[in-house]
Symmetry: C2
Subunit: 237 residues, 2 copies
Amino acid sequence: MKKTEKTGDKVKKAPEHLRFAVLAADVALFTIHDGKIFVRLIPVNRPPNYVKRLGLPGGLLLPHETAEEAALRLLKTKSHIADEHIWLEQLYTFSRVDRDPRGRVVAVGYFALIPWSALSEREQGESEGSYWSTLSDARNLAYDHDEMLAVALSRLRSRVAYTTLIQKLLPAEFTLTELEEAYEIVTGRTIDKRNFRKKIEKLGILKELARKREGGRHRPARLYCFASSTVKEIEVL
Amino acid sequence: MKKTEKTGDKVKKAPEHLRFAVLAADVALFTIHDGKIFVRLIPVNRPPNYVKRLGLPGGLLLPHETAEEAALRLLKTKSHIADEHIWLEQLYTFSRVDRDPRGRVVAVGYFALIPWSALSEREQGESEGSYWSTLSDARNLAYDHDEMLAVALSRLRSRVAYTTLIQKLLPAEFTLTELEEAYEIVTGRTIDKRNFRKKIEKLGILKELARKREGGRHRPARLYCFASSTVKEIEVL
DNA sequence: CCAAAAGTGTTCAAGTTACACCCATGC
DNA sequence: GCATGGGTGTAACTTGAACACTTTTGG
C-alpha cells in the first residue's frame, strides 16, 4: 500500500556529512527452560577492543530493511535461531556517540521471546559459538550490551506483570502449573497456587482443552491454551 | 569518563553502502493549559509532498550529537521552546523504509513535557508559525507524525497512571485541586475529590508547604510540592 | 499402598467506591 | 450575606493474602 512515492524531481540524497552513522539492530532473545531464564549470546571478535567477548546477536541494517526486519535476519544469521514463533518488541535506541569505538553506530535494541519447546534440537544447543546463557553468566558483554540486557530484562519483567505476554514464552498447550512456574521464573517470586488459579480463571484469558497431560506418576493435569494470541494489557499479577 | 578510545589502528569508517540513512529526532512536546492538552506543532514545507502542512518539531542529527541532544536542540530551533524544565523520554524509533519520501530517514521519536507556567509569554504564543495546538486540531500531520503523536499520547497516558510523571506538567507549587485537574485532563476521567486526596496522602509523594494560595473569592488553598523530583514508579491512579 | 503432583474454599485484612455538608474568603 | 471553591468522614463493597487437605495416577 504505502511505498516510496515517485515524483518528477530526482530524489535528493542527503549530503555526505549528514550520513555519518550506520544503523544497527541488537536483540536480547530470551527463553525459559529448566526453571531459569536464558538469553542467547554470540561470540564477538572485533579487535582491538573486543576479542573473545560475548555479546547480544546483532549487526548492521541493510538499505532495504527496517530495524525490525534486520533484527529478525540477524537472529537467524548470527545466533542461528530462525523461528516464526519469535516475538519481537522494540526496546530503546542507543545513540551515545562513543558506544562503538570503531565509529558512529546507532543501535536499535529489541527484546525477543521464544518458547523453549518451539526450538529445534539444534537451536536448543550451541551453534558456531552461539548458545543459551543463564543470566548470571551473561556479564561483561561487548559494546554496551550489559546495559542493553539490563534494560531488556527490566522491560520483560514489567510487561509480563501487566500484559498476557507470558504466552510468548509458553508452548501452545500447557498446564496451570506450567503457567504458574513461568510467572515465577520471570518475576522471581513464588505464587500461591490457589490464589493464582482463581485470578487466572476470573481473567478469562485461557481456553480449557479437553485433553490432559498424562504419563507422570500422579494425577493427570488439564491442558489449556490462550484464548487469544494477541498480547493484551490487563493486570495479570 | 567514557570517550572514543584511540587505538594504534586507524578508525575504520563504515563503507558508503552501509551509511545509507540519515538520522532524525522528532518530539511530541505536551503541556496542559486551560483544561486541555496542547501539543507544539511547526510548519512543514517540503515540496513536493508536504506543502503548508504541520508536523512535530524535529530534524536531522549532527555528527557529534546523541538523539536526545538533537531532540532538545530542535525543540529550541524549530519550535522556539528552550527551557531547562523540559522532561524528555524516548518513545520509539521509526525505521520504515519509505517513511520520508525524500530518502531513507530513521527517526527516533520522543515525547516531552513542560509546565505551562514555565513557559515565557513568548513561548506560550506563536513563533514563526510554531504554536500550541489542541489535540483535536493536530490531525493530518506531515510524514508519519500522526502515528508518532498517537504513540506519544498513549505512552503519556499510561505512564501518568503508574508513575509520578504528572509533576513534569505542573508548576513547582500547586494546590490539590490543580493536581487533581491535571490528572483529569490527562486521563480524560473525572476523579472523586475525597478519594483522590486520601490516596495522594497515603502515597506520601507530596510535601505540604506553609504558604497558601490566596486571592480567590473563596477559602485559600494549601500549596504543595513534590517531595522528590525523581519520577517514581508507583500505582498512582 | 506409596509417592508425586493436581485440584479445590474459607476467612480476614486491606483497599476501593460512593456519597453530602461545613469552611474561609472576597465582594 | 452570598457566591465560590476548599476541605473533610463513613459505610458498603471488592479485592488480595494466608492457609491444608483430598484426588488421581504410575509404579
